[in-house]
Symmetry: C2
Subunit: 239 residues, 2 copies
């Protein structure tokens, strides 16, 4: 399946600014993107990174098999517009005015959209989403967001503003699309804020880039109080 | 399956104190407990509330079928000790010194432990956990916690202090128990902090008590900025 991975190349992860310098945020954002691409390819699918600015595939330092399955497109429109431009449309035979013809049995190819900061994504979690049979399947994020979805219905369109999970449920209802919600902690965990970095260190997989980069920057788990946080070794924190 | 639900009856949900009065915190904690009990019973299992202080079943206002399947025990020990006292032990024939006999093929009944603040728990999510075949199955919470687990191995014991998810993985390894991690957003979401209340309003099920109580207190979704928050109507906020 074609999997669109939107990526904000120019101002990555601004809400991590209290924990990371701009250069570090860029490094971590690219490492998470590389981990997401690896999970998608390992699940047997072909990712297209839709980047807000030119992005060299070489700069992601992907292994050769992952790089060979990955393509990059540049689109500086809003997230909503860039995604909608890539969702399934009704197949037509080329004649004008026949988009609503009775040839609609030829279902369009489904398209998945997976955010680039789902650092905990695994092939198993993605496969639960990508194999859902509903017209629209959504993996919600915390706070009512939409972290990943699969669209098989030609009339469904996204709107990422606000409580997008609830909005997407309503949009599916309006166009008569069946909907399934995928209950996944890994897909619900987008890495936005410093507290989220804990999840990368706890749940990162063998070979993942993001936990490796964070550890190189001096981050480690800190379990002194109730919910576990992160600590940074002092000699690194002033960089 | 027997499902232990630890409940802190005396000081419920202190980390919600910036959003809720003590009386409101108690109301919301009991509503979440009632919702968790309903999900467990609807999944076909029998919950035992292990409360730190006497708790009247009547005060939870459960429907009669849920009340009939629920029992309450009082145990004022620490969470770790109260849970460990209820985990499976090796069956013996009563003769001293034979706990390690070759009669170990009689596997003990499994025991599940589900936290009382998993307000998003559904029968489906619980069943994914409870039907896992591993010796120990864990649904991690955010921040490296253990929100729910099933124990089928007679030597496994819990330790809820610190990064308990990682500690429990290590304890399972030490006793030779197989381990499975359950990837569930619903089970990963314990309601600890004001931001977590958003999840109750977004993902609560038809008939759930906790979202109903929060709405009665004036809380509603507020999507004005990026990640959705909650707002409280002003006439209620000063109670």
């Amino acid at each position: 399946m074609r999997v669109v991975v939107p990526f904000a190349a120019e101002t990555p992860k601004t809400r991590l600014e209290s924990a990371l310098t701009p250069a570090e945020r860029s490094t971590v954002a690219r490492a998470m993107l590389a981990d997401v691409l690896r999970a998608i390819v390992d699940a047997g699918h072909e990712p297209t990174v839709v980047s807000t600015a030119p992005l060299a595939l070489d700069a992601l330092d992907l292994s050769s098999d992952i790089a060979a399955s990955t393509s990059i497109a540049v689109d500086n429109r809003s997230l909503t517009d860039a995604v909608n431009a890539r969702l399934p449309v009704l197949e037509t035979d080329g004649d004008e005015g026949e988009t609503e013809s009775d040839d609609a049995t030829a279902a369009p190819d489904p398209v998945a959209v997976v955010m680039a900061d789902l650092a905990l994504a695994t092939p198993d979690a993605l496969e639960r989403l990508l194999s859902a049979s509903a017209d629209v399947a959504i993996a919600p994020g915390r706070g009512g967001g939409t972290n990943a979805l699969v669209v098989r219905h030609p009339e469904f369109r996204v709107d990422y503003h606000g409580t997008s999970y609830l909005d997407h449920r309503e949009i599916a209802r309006e166009v008569g699309a069946t909907l399934e919600t995928i209950d996944s902690f890994r897909l619900a965990t987008d890495i936005d804020e410093p507290a989220d970095l804990v999840e990368v260190l706890v749940h990162g997989r063998e070979g993942d880039r993001a936990p490796a980069r964070l550890r190189e920057m001096g981050f480690e788990l800190d379990g002194r109080d109730g919910r576990v946080g992160i600590a940074r070794s002092e000699d690194r924190a002033t960089k």
